[in-house]
């Protein structure tokens, strides 16, 4: 049930959830502003989105304690749409993204996540960290030395202040101090106010001002599809991370539908599409947030702060935001993946790197994941292909050679299969014993046909035994093979 709520998710951990929600709200503000800037829209679009997504997902999400809002991964996908068609089309795209995600939730597409291997997830997380970092570069290129000094000071405060005091969020201290310094010294550096309009009222319901026709659909669909895919990927990965951290279960299909509903809500309140955030969710759990209440507090406090303090928020120097975002990027990066490079097999590392490279190159996390999953599948097929060999023995009395095939015959090992037969040997007959082999696809059957044909042409009689058992695995419906004795038959020879 999309709206069913467990009481303990709301009031089970009130103190922890409220405090963590406050910490997250403070960290969400710079992120929402930064991501709006990436997407090329006013900061208010990202802020409204973050408020709406966080508050809606608190009720309809499948993973209590996870933080969802406007994200960098999504923002990067909208850049061209905003540039070419403007904000109104972005809002329509957001609505469509939500619809696609809800459909995906009902189709239980979340279960496809099982094809995404660990190395692809690591690659995704690392690529995300790199993208967030790269998005900060425009603020660090062609600026005066003041901006560098401010950013460096900001990072120093974020990482060193916790040594003095563990109860005040250090990103907040960083923002307050840097804003104070830049105002007192009257520094000529970029501030949030320079980046566009900030919200000065509560968000209002509005229907995007575009013609509702096929043309509009064709404009937004190429953006909505990857948005929906990336949003679900990041949300489901984050949910897994939160599951792991809190040692609890989440409802992945409900999360898919929840993300869809939250995005539709964001689109109707003038916000951009978003999804779950790895960095913020880690901050939330670290600060003691576990329940739905933490997400709700994060979203609502964010809005209150921004609407009532918009004059002050406008004066925050961009350098302070850049420092916070660099922190988020560092915290998101999977450090263990670099440490373990030497320990893991080359294929695993290649999958991870491919995912990262494709994402950084295309700025599209969906493509990176697709490339990673594809590569991982190829590596796997290659590995399994090694589990095939052919034994042969000569029966001199009958002038017959017996080939016994062992293991898995499919597209990846079929060439090896064909090559194992000696067609030049002049024999009166050949027996191919397949009783210890498994034919997985049509490629394998064709390879066998070819072998038989070739032997016949050489004038050798061919006898094939055990083919029926061997080809049982071709059947696509595996319902038959889910019983232990059937699995034993397939894996342990017949």
């Amino acid at each position: 049930m999309i709206l069913s709520q467990k009481k303990s998710d709301w009031v089970g951990n009130i103190r922890g959830d409220v405090l963590a929600g406050l910490v997250v709200a403070l960290a969400l503000i710079p992120e929402a502003i930064a991501f709006s800037i990436i997407a090329g829209v006013d900061p208010k679009v990202g802020l409204y989105a973050s408020f709406c997504i966080a508050v809606v997902i608190a009720f309809v999400g499948g993973r209590p304690g996870m933080i969802s809002a406007a994200t960098g991964a999504m923002a990067l996908l909208m850049v061209t749409l905003v540039k070419e068609h403007g904000l109104q089309y972005l809002l329509v795209a957001t609505l469509l993204t939500g619809v696609i995600q809800i459909v995906a939730g009902y189709l239980k597409l979340g279960e496809l996540m099982r094809f995404v291997s660990r190395s692809v997830v690591t690659g995704f997380v690392n690529a995300l960290a790199i993208l967030i970092f790269m998005a900060q570069l425009p603020e660090l290129i062609n600026v005066t030395w003041h901006a560098y000094a401010m950013t460096a000071a900001g990072l120093a405060i974020i990482y060193l202040f916790p040594l003095l005091n563990k109860t005040i969020p250090s990103p907040l201290v960083c923002i307050l101090l840097l804003t104070g310094v830049s105002m007192v010294l009257g520094l000529d550096i970029h501030t949030v106010g320079d980046m566009g309009e900030l919200p000065d009222t509560l968000p209002v319901f509005l229907w995007p001002d575009v013609p509702l026709n096929l043309e509009t659909l064709m404009i937004v669909l190429p953006y909505s599809l990857p948005l929906a895919v990336v949003g679900l990927l990041e949300s489901l990965m984050t949910a897994t991370i939160v599951d792991e951290l809190t040692d609890t279960q989440s409802d992945k299909n409900r999360e898919c539908k929840g993300q869809g509903i939250a995005n539709i809500g964001a689109g109707l309140l003038g916000g951009m599409a978003g999804c779950a955030m790895i960095g913020q969710s880690v901050i939330n759990v670290k600060s003691g947030g576990r329940g739905r209440l933490s997400t709700f507090i994060a979203g609502s406090v964010l809005l209150i702060l921004v609407v009532f303090l918009s004059d002050w928020v406008a004066r925050i120097p961009m350098a302070a935001l850049v420092a916070v975002m660099i922190m988020v990027s560092i915290g998101t990066f999977s450090w263990a993946s670099i440490r373990d490079l030497k320990k893991y097999p080359l294929s695993t590392n290649l999958v991870m790197f491919t995912t990262v490279v494709v994402v950084v190159w295309t700025h599209n996390l969906a493509l990176g994941v697709f490339a990673g999953v594809l590569l991982a599948a190829l590596f796997f097929a290659n590995k399994i292909g090694h589990f095939m060999y052919v034994e042969s023995s000569l029966d001199e009395q009958d002038d017959q050679r017996i080939y016994q095939v062992h293991g898995q015959v499919f597209f990846s090992s079929s060439n090896k299969f064909t090559a194992a037969f000696d067609f030049k040997e002049a024999l009166s007959s050949v027996r191919i014993d397949l009783s210890r082999a498994h034919f997985w696809d049509i490629t394998a059957v064709e390879a066998l046909d070819k072998v038989v044909l070739k032997f016949r042409r050489e004038g050798t009689d061919v006898q094939v035994t055990g083919l029926n058992q061997a080809s049982e695995t071709i059947i696509d419906r595996f319902g038959k093979h889910d019983k232990p004795e059937e699995i034993e038959k397939v894996l342990g020879g017949h």
Partner: protein, 292 residues
């Protein structure tokens, strides 16, 4: 749990202990029930994971390897906490076992499971005959105005008779069936008729109603049913607020055990009108046997 009971019969008397002050009483009631019903005794301790978070770092800063570091930190803390809980629970269960054996129970079974009491009981539901719980657990122990945090959800989600105990154990001498002819109460009537529990317990059939004549007929019919099964039956028709009238009657007639239907309305209706079951639970000083 299916292995405990191949035929999947509902045979067990399950005592839910958590170390609160009602645990001894839960144990003794369960021992008594187990003997009267000839239902094997099983003591259950659920290791509920504490929702209050131990780690809370409000710095909001995440650095290199933040996620891995947090995971190992949380794992370590919870490991310690749960190890302690398991140990505490084991000791508690061992004491229960000793008492049960002294009372003459053969092979008392001990079960310890992770997760909330509700989850654990849902797992055991299929082979439970009756479940004994304390009126409130460790969390609300000192507060007499509160019911246990889970009691209502427990009774609602596990469809087995619950004996809710709220005082020291004494062998019951008289039972009362709160009867209004509803489907839930008919089930209660059926149980009183068939259960060996009432072989030696006189039963007071009590109805609270505004319409005296109708109530008399209702009660008389039920009395006939019970007497047909060889029960000793007294009847009474009371007036006033049901929970007050019933509790008053309990006191006057020294009733030790009250059988009643529980939470027969949905939560929405309860939100508006309040729940009779909850009022009974709060007012009564004697154990209640709740049927859903």
């Amino acid at each position: 749990m299916a292995t405990d009971n191949d035929k999947n019969e509902r045979i067990w008397t399950i005592a839910c202990v958590d170390g609160s002050r009602y645990s001894t009483s839960v144990r003794d009631h369960a021992i008594w029930l187990s003997q009267v019903l000839n239902a094997p005794f099983k003591a259950l301790h659920a290791i509920e994971h504490n929702p209050n978070v131990a780690v809370s770092d409000l710095t909001g800063a995440i650095g290199l390897g933040a996620q891995e570091h947090l995971l190992s930190e949380l794992t370590e803390l919870e490991q310690q906490r749960n190890k302690l809980e398991i140990q505490k629970g084991r000791q508690m269960l061992e004491t229960v076992k000793v008492h049960a054996e002294q009372a003459g129970i053969e092979h008392p079974t001990l079960v310890q499971r992770h997760g909330s009491l509700i989850e654990s009981l849902i797992d055991l539901e299929n082979d439970a005959r009756v479940i004994v719980v304390g009126i409130r657990g460790e969390v609300h122990e000192d507060n007499n105005q509160h019911l246990g945090a889970h009691l209502e959800s427990l009774v609602r989600s596990v469809n087995r008779p619950f004996l809710v105990v709220n005082r020291e154990f004494t062998p019951p001498k008289a039972a009362m069936l709160a009867y209004d002819g509803s489907s839930c109460c008919l089930k209660g009537l059926e149980m009183v008729k068939n259960s060996p529990l009432f072989d030696h317990l006189p039963v007071h059939l009590v109805n609270v109603s505004g319409d005296l004549d109708k109530a008399q007929v209702l009660v008389a019919q039920a009395k006939q049913v019970l007497e047909g099964a060889g029960r000793t039956v007294h009847t009474a028709v009371l007036q006033g607020l049901p929970h007050e009238a019933l509790c008053q009657y309990q006191k006057e007639n020294e009733i030790d055990l009250t059988v009643m239907g529980a939470f027969s309305h949905n939560r929405l209706r309860e939100l508006v009108f309040g729940s009779f079951t909850i009022r009974m639970l709060l007012n009564t000083e004697k154990p209640l046997l709740l049927l859903r």
